[in-house]
């Protein structure tokens, strides 16, 4: 599963996406966040929301292989 990174998070990780291996049944957003921090320690403890298929998701929401996942740091558009 690809996890898209933006702005400050992309700079911290030194890349624009992470590749996460996920079981077929998927996992929830809270668990995904733990996996991300383990894979890329530079992101541990950073503030972000998770978007699944281009919508903001809650910690208990499900993520399945094939979903488009993105980490959304605090926004500052406008």
């Amino acid at each position: 599963m690809r996890v898209l990174l933006f702005a400050g998070l992309a700079e911290l990780a030194g890349r624009r996406e992470l590749a996460l291996t996920v079981a077929e049944g998927g996992l929830d957003v809270a668990r995904l966040v733990v996996r991300v921090a383990a894979l890329e320690p530079a992101l541990a403890g950073r503030s972000f929301r998770v978007a699944v298929n281009r919508r903001y998701a809650q910690p208990a929401d499900a993520v399945r292989p094939g979903d488009e996942v993105a980490l959304i740091p605090p926004v500052s558009g406008g």
Binding site: A51, R54, R55, P74, S76, G77, G78
Partner: protein
């Protein structure tokens, strides 16, 4: 007109997008790059967007402005890429039969865009740069 683009914002076409014979009031908001922020001189800004999701969010904002805030027609344009001081970063136009709804909906749109749409800005100063985290 709902757009996230690296092209300079064309204000006349933003205004034209909300014209209609029953719309007596139009309110336009323009956000421009200022020469100063957080007490420091700004040289330029970089805007980055999660393009597809930003577009989806802008569309859903436009729908909410129409359903909940009395807007007739809505245009939302956000620029991305590298912007100089004085350039337009965002344009929001709202028409409504009467002016009150147009003011309310336009202000709601810019306030909510700033909180919700996945776009980020990086400020460049003489001695460095930083990503701005305005809305956690």
């Amino acid at each position: 007109m709902i757009l996230v683009s690296t092209q300079p914002i064309d204000v006349p076409s933003v205004l034209a997008a909300v014209e209609g014979p029953g719309e007596g009031g139009v309110v336009l908001f323009l956000g421009r790059v200022r020469h100063e922020a957080r007490g420091q001189a700004v040289q330029r800004l970089d805007y980055e967007a999660y393009g597809d999701m930003a577009l989806d969010e802008l569309k859903s904002l436009a729908g909410e402005a129409q359903r909940l805030h009395g807007a007739s027609r809505v245009a939302l344009v956000h620029r991305t890429g590298s912007l100089e001081v004085g350039e337009l970063a965002v344009a929001i136009a709202v028409s409504a039969p009467h002016r009150k709804e147009a003011f309310v909906a336009c202000e709601w749109l810019i306030d909510t865009l700033k909180r919700r749409v996945p776009i980020w800005k990086k400020e460049w100063y003489a001695d460095g740069s930083q990503w701005i985290a305005e809305h956690p």
